[in-house]
């Protein structure tokens, strides 16, 4: 069933930060969900060969019903025609070019009615991000990319020691205080953080929140499943969960909304949205994911009580 509103995950970050690896990881974890990946160009093969089942001009068919399209300078044009060309697509992952400002890209997407920005994700290279931010040419672009992020994926942490990683985390917290930072390597991130939780009575997670290829990734995350009181104000709940300090990376839940029937709340870091739920949806539990040890359970329970 086609969603009426298509969530868009914008993936930004400079060259070499791991955007392509991240996108490939997401496609491997799509598990039947139909994702359209939009990339600036097919220059350096954007998709692992084993995932591609067919190539047709500026479109690659990906196993499992996903698709990858290049947009060049015509992102808006591509987004305008996509829902008609691919009515089966449920979600968009938009890979911005290395010098693009993902905040501006996300802003442009908001002009198109069928889309909703789900998250702005910016990749950073743990080894080089601070040096890049000092670069005379690129520094301000890198910082503008980072400050627009809901989630910063601090990638390639395997290349630095713990102390260096902590220094970079502290620096990022100063530069982009509103963003949630996820340290990782090989762009290994629990896919539901980026492409969302599935619909269902309890919004479904992948088994044990495992990131592909990382057997111990589950230990990185905590997840909560909480009952939502009837007649809850999802807008208010969203703004509380998205507030600084809750530790929420992603949350989802559906509830009855007096004016609009069933509505769905999506939270990613500091961003939240309340959408009409897909037809036939029923109220669900609230599922919350955060970094292990960083979820403020009291704040989250309070948010549910007061909302």
């Amino acid at each position: 069933m086609k969603n009426s509103i298509l969530p868009v995950t914008v993936v930004g970050g400079y060259l070499g930060t791991g955007k392509t690896t991240l996108v490939n990881n997401l496609l491997r974890a799509a598990a039947g969900r139909r994702i359209a990946v939009l990339v600036n160009d097919f220059g350096t093969t954007p998709i692992d060969r084993d995932l591609i089942v067919a190539t047709d001009g500026d479109t690659l068919e990906i196993s499992g019903g996903c698709v990858c399209c290049s947009y060049g300078s015509d992102l808006m044009e591509r987004l305008m025609t996509l829902p008609e060309q691919r009515p089966d697509v449920e979600r968009i992952v938009l890979e911005a070019s290395g010098v693009a400002l993902p905040g501006m890209v996300a802003n442009a997407v908001t002009l198109l009615e069928p889309y909703r920005i789900d998250a702005v994700v910016v990749m950073a290279d743990a080894e080089t991000v601070q040096a890049q931010a000092d670069d005379a040419y690129l520094g301000d672009t890198i910082l503008r990319q980072l400050t627009a992020a809901d989630l910063i994926i601090l990638n390639r942490c395997d290349l630095v020691d713990d102390a260096a990683r902590e220094r970079t985390m502290t620096w990022l917290a100063q530069q982009a205080p509103d963003a949630r930072v996820l340290p990782t390597s090989y762009a290994d991130v629990a896919p539901e953080l980026l492409i969302g939780l599935r619909d269902g009575p309890t919004p479904r997670r992948q088994a044990a929140l495992q990131a592909p290829g990382a057997p111990d990734a589950a230990s990185l995350y905590d997840a909560l499943e909480l009952d939502m009181p009837p007649d809850i104000d999802l807008q208010q709940l969203g703004s509380r969960l998205a507030a600084p300090g809750t530790g929420v990376l992603r949350a989802k839940g559906m509830a009855r909304d007096e004016s609009r029937g069933i509505a769905a709340l999506h939270v990613v870091g500091k961003r939240f949205a309340v959408d009409p739920a897909p037809p036939g949806a029923t109220p669900t539990k609230l599922v919350v994911i955060g970094l292990r040890g960083h979820l403020d359970r009291n704040a989250i329970s309070n948010a549910l009580r007061k909302a």
Binding site: G43, E77, S97, A108
Partner: protein, 549 residues
């Protein structure tokens, strides 16, 4: 001995741009090429000939070379012209500048009455509301014309589009809650109809007649562009950023190959959504498809955006009004790699840099690439390069780089640059033609048509006088002489295209390409250079009177 016919043209004066014989009275032509320029007596030695007196009271110059234009100037004339200044269309009709928003509306109303079908979009171009005070153009202005059909008017800069309510409605933008810097909102929370930047413009463009698919591969537009070239004395013109899909290449080959097509088109492949490797491979392939009148195989690269759009990359201290720095359009790694590969394969690259930081980046990238891949005669050119300072010109000279500067900006946006974008000091050194020449940088100057009107003599006038629309002089020390300006619009531009061996001056062996002028640009007062009347052109020996274009 050749049996082809020789024609010797007599002229009042021939300005050859050949320092060995800078002036002549006669030029001999055979097979579309120049046998020689000199006296009748000297040229008679070539044998039997016809003596053609039709230019006896006219001045001949090498055909003008427009080193930075877009054939879309021809496409835009399908829309209603609404610019502030008089502009000649391909038919030779001069459209008077529009002096107020009411006049804009009146001209659109007049056009609207002539539209046959009720749902045909009404489209205009060239709007420049900065000349109409603080009042912005809003959708209510155009709703006075029609609320049934869509109306869209492109600004002169090409970066803003004004539309009516119907167009907003069809684009799904007539709603509250929008939050985008490119969509101006009114006090009612609805968009005012002023849409800035490519994203917002793309959404509405196809509803108001600016559909990208229509604009690409526009055969009538190419023909109109060619007629404009004849009227402006241009015999070689660039089409500086084309994606050149196969169907466009075959259309351009066919049209430019027609016996009466009057201009040589140099079309550059735009570097976009490609790796440097792919771009260079495509350019090498295109080079093989080139013909005499359709030159292919060079690459155009965008490093940054525009100054008046605040998307140009500036060095410290940035924009005068405090606007944040602009945008990079291509990462430095890709620029450096493109330069290196292009040098290796002898592919010409012209790079758009408006801000001085973009210029600096391009210089750094070429500097590095030349160390890996020395290439003594690459002719890589910085296009616009508007804010370069003296040190950057010296560096360009050392790296063998050419500059194609944009003096038309002084006239159209010089006041805005002085007051808002870069402030007085940098506004007065912008497009530093004199510094470029003094530094030994090969120099061309351009119109960037359709951004400003195609017309090399007007561009030369801008470089010579450096006047703004309000009459302010921007930097007398950067003025160049008429003689230097005339050289930049002929041999100078030809050099940046690696065509100086075959055109750009009137001398033996070169194409018989002439600008035929009624007035002598060296005799007329420098402040009247733009008013030199143009009879038409001779291109490869073929005569193209403007009156018949």
């Amino acid at each position: 001995m050749s049996t082809s016919k020789i024609t010797i043209f007599r002229a009042r004066r021939i300005l050859t741009m050949n320092p060995a014989r800078p002036e002549a009275t006669h030029v001999a032509v055979r097979d579309g090429r120049i046998l020689g320029a000199g006296s009748l007596e000297e040229l008679q030695g070539w044998g039997a000939h016809d003596l053609d007196d039709r230019f006896a009271d006219k001045v001949l110059m090498p055909g003008f070379v427009e080193g930075h234009s877009h054939t879309s100037e021809g496409t835009f004339w399908r829309y209603t012209y609404l610019g502030r200044f008089d502009r000649m269309d391909p038919d030779g009709k001069v459209w008077p500048g529009v002096k107020s928003i009411d006049e804009v509306v009146a001209r659109l109303q007049e056009k609207e009455r002539k539209l046959a079908s009720a749902d045909e979009p009404l489209s205009g171009w060239g709007l420049d509301p900065i000349y109409y005070g603080d009042r912005r153009v809003v959708r209510a202005d155009f709703d006075r014309i029609s609320t049934q059909r869509t109306i869209g008017v492109m600004h002169a800069s090409g970066h803003i589009l004004n539309v009516n309510s119907r167009a907003l409605e069809l684009a799904g933008l007539l709603r509250t809650g929008l939050n985008h810097p490119g969509v101006t909102l009114g006090s009612d929370g609805l968009p005012t109809g002023e849409l800035k930047g490519p994203e917002a413009m793309t959404l509405v463009g196809k509803h108001v007649g600016f559909d990208r698919e229509v604009l690409a591969n526009d055969e009538p537009g190419l023909r109109r562009f060619a007629r404009l070239c004849v009227r402006q004395g241009v015999t070689t013109a660039t089409d500086l950023a084309n994606l050149l899909p196969d169907d466009a290449v075959s259309m351009m080959q066919r049209v430019t190959g027609e016996a009466q097509f009057p201009v040589r088109i140099v079309s550059f492949r735009r570097f976009q959504a490609l790796t440097p490797e792919q771009a260079v491979e495509i350019a090498v392939g295109l080079k093989k498809q080139a013909t005499d009148r359709l030159r292919l195989g060079a690459i155009k690269l965008f490093v940054d955006g525009s100054i008046q759009g605040f998307s140009a990359r500036l060095r410290w201290p940035g924009y005068y009004n405090g606007a944040p720095n602009g945008l990079w359009y291509t990462p430095p790694e890709a620029i450096a790699q493109l330069y290196r590969l292009a040098l290796q394969k002898d592919v010409l690259v012209h790079s758009h840099t408006n801000g001085d930081q973009a210029t600096e980046m391009a210089l750094d990238c070429l500097d590095g690439a030349l160390r890996d891949q020395p290439a003594p005669d690459h002719r890589f050119t910085l296009q616009h390069c508007q804010l370069a300072d003296a040190a950057q010109f010296r560096r360009m000279s050392r790296l063998g780089m050419c500059a194609n500067l944009f003096p038309n900006h002084h006239f159209y946006w010089g006041d805005q640059h002085y007051e808002t974008t870069v402030g007085p000091e940098r506004a007065t050194r912008m497009n530093a033609c004199a510094t470029a020449l003094a530094s030994g940088v090969p120099l061309a100057i351009h119109s960037d048509a359709p951004v400003t009107p195609l017309g090399p003599l007007f561009t030369a006038w801008c470089a010579v006088n450096r006047l703004t629309a309000s009459g302010r002089v921007l930097g007398t020390s950067e003025r160049i002489s008429v003689a230097d300006a005339l050289r930049t619009i002929t041999l100078g531009a030809a050099w940046t295209l690696k065509l100086d061996g075959e055109l750009g001056s009137i001398e033996v062996g070169k194409h018989a390409d002439f600008a035929v002028l009624e007035d002598d640009p060296l005799e007329i007062a420098p402040e009247k250079l733009k008013d030199v009347r143009i009879w038409g052109t001779v291109q490869a020996g073929r005569l193209f009177p403007a009156a018949g274009a």
